[in-house]
Symmetry: C2
């Protein structure tokens, strides 16, 4: 009651505002003291073609992306809101998780009706695959919940059916999934076991009498946990479980089970609970599942890797249980690739907003009577944002490379796809969180307003650094894999091949004693320096591991103890990889202003990586003088990139409606007169 | 309708769960496969007295803190929730901002009734002041909105009345504020001007006929923005405005105005709008205010600094407008001190949860058949968390130092309070965000569940790095002040005095060519190294500025250009300060196990600071060999601190109820049987 009367009073007050009789000679005339000038008017014209840079950065499917953006902008389900003469779209995060879940499902139904998902599971030509990646990028910048809910349904559930299942599963579920006649989820993670999937405790036993598997949650720690879609919407799930045949554990296998009927009732022998409120992704209904003697027919075992014959005999095309286990994790690879790819697009959103704001917001004067200075004209502000733009562009190239690598995958390339996707997933998602944090702070308090997007994206995308593989664990796997390559190459006395390690076969690169500006910006020097770091760290790592082993440590323990070198090595590997890919994209351009700007971005990427990794100094790859020269050059690059900043972020291709009000006329967007339209 | 029927269906499904007839021979017996063992049982007993360490870290008012924690735990307004046999308190963040605002106000009313705020404005003895700090720390770990709403009312509004006002203002408003008969807010920031307060555009002119000030918002960019309390609850505000007397601008002054009547109706000539949804702090009703010829009596000018006589004559006790302006900003200092202090307590919450979880959660085995390993037994996990514990302890000492400095302030100390509070506010809040991010990732997905607190605290406290002074701007002010000291000392040819710079009068410290473990852990070496860095950076900075000036740059431009050295210098200053304060706290302990542990923490603080600041290498304060020795020693310290981790975080004094379920029996807290109690 108190609540109601207070609400009524507040409503009355607000209503009072709108009808308040202010004199027509109000001082609030359009003569604003602070004028907003669109950056397009205040900045010099672009020195290069922004659409050409967009083509380089997006890489593919520009028209399809724009089509999908339009589809989202047009629907009232995507919450279009007028602000300052423009319309912005973004979810309403002032809703409870229950409301967010409902509207997320509605948005999926709308996109389904518009044909966005056509061919996502039934098509398989490279063009469809690439367009799918593009669509996921576009949907992701609207809302992470939306893209995650799609990802779980199509690529975890659907991907498991497709890649772990065989014809009988494909016939039954692929088309039905694409049309959302079934809604799938993916019950792998348990309360007690996340990254360590091998340790899951769910048990499936085979009943020869009925030709069924009996699936059980033997204890509370075995409850399926974080299962996206389970809490409210999913009708089917993939259950990952240990498979017991005649008392012998055949390891982790995947089974299909129905968990809800068409009316939404939870099936018998299944119990489901909610995972509760999260700091983001509240549009995804993460749930927990328990199985109590749940029976699924023998045919529901996804049997591309291993199968159980009606009489209970276990058969598998893969002898080695480790390899068999690896095969079961393969649906996760798409997820990892997609997370890496998505995170770059989110960084672009953050940077586009922060740069546009920094080109219209002034603070402090440098002289007592001088005008206030644009944020982006402060060298500190340039230093905060421009290197991040360069990194984001370089990572954009790397993300495109990764997509192609994944789409053109062959069994031989599985290992390198695993390594590249792990390294890039970790690196690009950490970068994304850093970009969003820096952009949010660079926008001051405005960065905290939900309508301005940057801040809320932090909470929504925070999960990226730990899901589908904890970033630290993934980076350790990268250095472990590099070490194996190193040991194998030495053992077989043959050159390095693959993973870009061919440079290890060449003589040690030599870094000049004095670095001129010209050298610092040369591709050869930059690649030499990055390769020097990588090869030295790899041999240091190998030798430290040997030393530990010589002192009696097991290989496993030795690796645990050498974690610092392992981290430095994985970073060296991924940064050299990104530089190399970005260089390739640059070289593919014809000479001209665009190539010049990409060259500036590439040099900035290289030199800021040098600035930020103390390993260059710590292990002596650069003298103190050379490091000082590199820093000075990076500062120079900042001022050279400054005039291009607006046009680089314009090339990110994010439609205006997906940026926040502070990216445009924020004085008008905050004016009293706009209140009535909100 | 669709909505309703779906909600009904879901309700039915959930109800079905609870009544689902599972056989009594259910496999879900208490025989969990993964057992939860409380860390207190699995860890060795403490080597030191945790209550003694708590006394060192909290510094004061332990019993008062515990009393207040109890008060909050006992009230249903603080949302006590049973989970796994325990009860936890935390706000319900699944509520809309409107709901969060209402309940925040209710919680304030409850604390008021319990006498928590007695003497907060009317008392002024050091004990009351220190207890106030302690209370704010305790309230802050419950909810940032709650403490911010109190801070605005008591220390911005109340502080302005107290410190900028004179007897007539004190008599009228101090007691009334303490009793919440008036609710105050603080209208300083505008849409167009945040950190740069001097540039605000609100205008007050004096009308000699009526002896009133006429206050106006001349344009949209002058609307008051982010005003906590303005959107819903505040009845009064301090208005910061340019003061025009006979056409002459006397600079920024502060005025008291009523903005709502007792019924909550907005007063005539005032318009108020909401700031909208934010990524955190949604329990605070931030609003925007416009003034249209609002008249306030002459007596409402807060006149301790400057006054207007009835005839319109302007008089001031401070001649210099710069000093006058500085005086007006003085109420912000308390805020800055309080933010620094609060952020350390939040870091403690994050670390206590992450460490307790890491002592009960296992992942992966090191050998094929071995048991899974406790997270905190991984060297990587130790490296992620234990240095942060050491830093947090050192910063805890620094926070206590800052409180005392503030409470014992004298006009002579204003400058050093400004410098210390700026440096520590920036450093401790950045540290806090880093701690929370690392702890959230260290807890994996559990770190994202709102009930586990760490993740949600990130969004709630993110604002700290930019409010009450942007951290970057504050750090620049620190180096600027150090530079002035440097120039002044050289000009007057007298020794350095104050800000801990006395070491600059001594001969250059000498760093041994070979660092033994014993040297690396010695206080003398650590202080020498930190002082060496500070003095060298200060003279480098001064000389770079001179060089810029010699090339024709203005002093202001020179400072803008030397931002890298400025940043390194400010960091060197604050880290040397923190080390020195922590050393003092350590030396005050009598010999014994507690002092030993504090010594380990202090060495870890020193060596991790060395590890993380490339300046030690970049400017040659350490040879590569010495840097390698320091890193090795830090790793050794990790394993030595490992057995103390549980007891150090226990000494943080955070009651169990304020930690999340994952800090305790998370298997039980997630069990099916607890669902019915949630």
């Amino acid at each position: 009651m108190d609540h109601d009367s207070s609400a009524l009073r507040r409503t009355a007050v607000i209503a009072g505002h709108f009808s308040a009789p202010f004199s027509s000679s109000s001082v609030l005339e359009p003569s604003a003291c602070l004028h907003y000038t669109p950056p397009e008017l205040s900045e010099k014209p672009p020195a290069f073609s922004t659409s050409a840079l967009r083509l380089l950065l997006d890489g593919h499917d520009l028209a399809s992306r724009d089509w999908l953006f339009q589809i989202m902008e047009k629907s009232p389900l995507f919450c279009p809101r007028p602000r300052g003469g423009r319309t912005f779209v973004a979810p309403d995060y002032n809703q409870s998780k229950e409301q967010q879940r409902l509207v997320t499902m509605r948005r999926i139904e709308y996109l389904l009706r518009r044909g966005v998902f056509d061919g996502w599971l039934t098509g398989s030509d490279p063009e469809t695959e690439m367009r799918k990646f593009a669509f996921l990028e576009c949907i992701g910048i609207y809302d992470h919940s939306l893209v995650i809910k799609l990802g779980v349904h199509f690529f975890l559930w659907g991907g498991a059916i497709k890649f772990l299942g065989t014809k009988r599963h494909h016939d039954k579920w692929l088309k039905a999934t694409e049309k959302y006649e079934v809604k799938g989820c993916f019950a792998m993670t348990e309360l007690g076991h996340g990254s360590n999937v091998r340790g899951i405790e769910t048990i499936a036993t085979y009943d020869t009498n009925t030709c069924e598997f009996i699936i059980n949650t033997p204890c509370e720690s075995a409850q399926k946990y974080w299962i996206g879609g389970a809490a409210n919407h999913a009708t089917h799930t993939i259950i990952f479980s240990q498979l017991l045949i005649n008392g012998i554990n055949q390891g982790v296998h995947a089974f299909v089970a129905e968990i809800r009927d068409a009316d939404g009732n939870v099936c018998p022998n299944v119990r489901i609970a909610d995972c509760g409120h999260k700091i983001g992704l509240n549009g995804v209904d993460n749930g927990r599942i328990w199985f109590d003697n749940l029976r699924v027919p023998r045919e529901n075992l996804l049997n591309s890797v291993g199968d159980v014959l009606p009489d209970g005999q276990y058969v598998s095309s893969i002898e080695d249980p480790d390899q068999r286990f690896a095969a079961f994790l393969s649906p996760l690879t798409f997820g990892r690739v997609n997370i890496a790819v998505n995170s770059v697009y989110i960084s672009k959103v953050g940077l586009a907003i922060a740069i546009r704001y920094a080109l219209t917001r002034r603070a402090f004067s440098i002289t007592a009577t001088g005008p206030e200075v644009l944020l982006l004209d402060y060298p500190t502000h340039q230093w905060r944002l421009l290197p991040l733009i360069a990194k984001t562009c370089a990572m954009s190239s790397a993300a495109n490379y990764l997509k192609l690598l994944y789409i053109k995958r062959t069994p031989e390339k599985n290992k390198s796809i695993h390594i590249y996707s792990s390294a890039l997933k970790a690196t690009l998602t950490w970068h994304n969180m850093r970009v969003l944090q820096e952009c949010r702070e660079a926008c001051g308090g405005q960065g905290l307003k939900t309508e301005n997007r940057i801040g809320i994206l932090k909470g929504e995308f925070d999960v990226q650094s730990t899901f589908e593989g904890d970033n630290y664990v993934l980076m350790q796997q990268v250095s472990k894999a590099l070490l194996s390559e190193y040991i194998a190459a030495h053992k077989r006395k043959s050159p390095f091949k693959g993973l870009g390690l061919e440079h290890m076969n060449d003589p040690h690169p030599v870094i000049p004693a004095n670095l001129t500006s010209c050298t610092l910006r040369s591709i050869k020097f930059q690649l030499d320096l990055f390769r020097l770091r990588e090869r030295d760290l790899l041999s240091r790592y190998a030798s430290e591991i040997s030393q530990h082993q010589a002192q009696g440590e097991s290989t496993e323990n030795a690796m645990l103890l050498s974690y610092q070198l392992a981290g430095e090595l994985a970073k060296a590997f991924v940064e050299r990889t990104i530089l190399q890919i970005f260089v390739d994209d640059e070289m593919a351009q014809s000479d001209g202003p665009l190539k010049d700007v990409v060259g500036l971005l590439r040099s900035m990427y290289a030199l800021i990586s040098v600035e930020e990794d103390a390993a260059f100094l710590r292990h002596g790859y650069l003298s103190l003088d050379n490091a000082a020269a590199a820093r000075k050059e990076a500062v120079k690059l900042c001022s050279e990139l400054r005039p291009h900043a607006l046009y680089v972020v314009s090339s990110f291709g994010i439609p205006d409606a997906f940026l926040g009000p502070i990216a445009f006329d924020w004085v008008k967007a905050n004016s009293w007169s706009t209140l009535s339209n909100e």
